[in-house]
Chain length 183, copies 2
Amino acid sequence: MARQQTRSKVHDAVLALAREKRVGNITMEGIAARAGVSKQTLYRTWSSTGAILFDALLARSANEDGAVVVPDSGNLASDLQTLATATIAELTDPTQEPLLRAVTADMQSDDALATQFRELLLGPQLRGIANRLRQGNVPDPDGTAELFVGPIFHRWLLRTRPFESEWVTAHVARIVRSVSAHG
Amino acid sequence: MARQQTRSKVHDAVLALAREKRVGNITMEGIAARAGVSKQTLYRTWSSTGAILFDALLARSANEDGAVVVPDSGNLASDLQTLATATIAELTDPTQEPLLRAVTADMQSDDALATQFRELLLGPQLRGIANRLRQGNVPDPDGTAELFVGPIFHRWLLRTRPFESEWVTAHVARIVRSVSAHG
DNA sequence: GCGCTAACTGGACGCACCGTCTCGTTTGAT
DNA sequence: ATCAAACGAGACGGTGCGTCCAGTTAGCGC
């Protein structure tokens, strides 16, 4: 496989490119030129620009803990509020947002990429939230985790509305209300 | 603008292409050839393949009522169940799914397309659901509509899991429970 | 240190599409 | 019949694709 130094050069290049131009027109040739690497080297390890972007994203969330940690203070409402705010901050972070959008776009037509994204990033996130809920004795933790995360991603992916802070508060309140209602 | 006959030829061509090949490699030149139309004609009316796909999708949902109608039988639970099933059927319909995925993918980097999609398809859908909820005296109809739709799209867009029928039932139950809980 | 293998650079290849342009033709309303 | 708008056909330079080749480093075993 690729040497570590090569990997880093490619990651740096792709992150730099993502910052300065539309992600849509990031190309293999562009990355190769920017990283000072031959196209051959890129194709040896990655099959598409989407794969490179994802790899860069993954390396980033592995090194500096870019991954959102689920808080557990005992207070469910304030923990969910913190979590929602942190998630939204990550989704709208100027350096991450274009990468995440590009990868989710590629996912729509690339099954392998979709599987990786699901298993390495989304799955752990959902399981982390579900575990926090389970620890708080919330019934149906998996379903509730989806209920919590779903509307946030709906807004982000379909770009229906920006994240007003009042909406975030109301959303958290809805989740809390739904779990405290036990018929 | 384009004549109606031209529009139809282009729509037919793009739908045919979407059926037989990966949506990702639908091209302007391919559409032009298939529709028996010059590239000039395409560029005169549409700016990208994404725009053409969206236009075809819109025409489709305008003609034959492909649009999901919000049911109103008086029974909230069964109406939501019907609505969820219909929405999922539309999202996973073999002829629509690739188109929808292609458009949502393009949306991620095309603001104009995102705006159109939001205002012409997603907005009306959300408003329709919210109105049904409002009519049923559900408090916070807008928020609840997002709570209902969010997790469905989350599964579909991020392809976390298929739509098991038990999940749909459970999801509807969660929504119903959340609205009947008034603190 | 020597040598072998895997990873690399640099560049060339044919090909598909891009987006724009020109020119001549058809269409349909007045 | 007239005339402008919409159209078909096809050529243009340009860009990125994915693959191939030949020659060059880098690192690990002995």
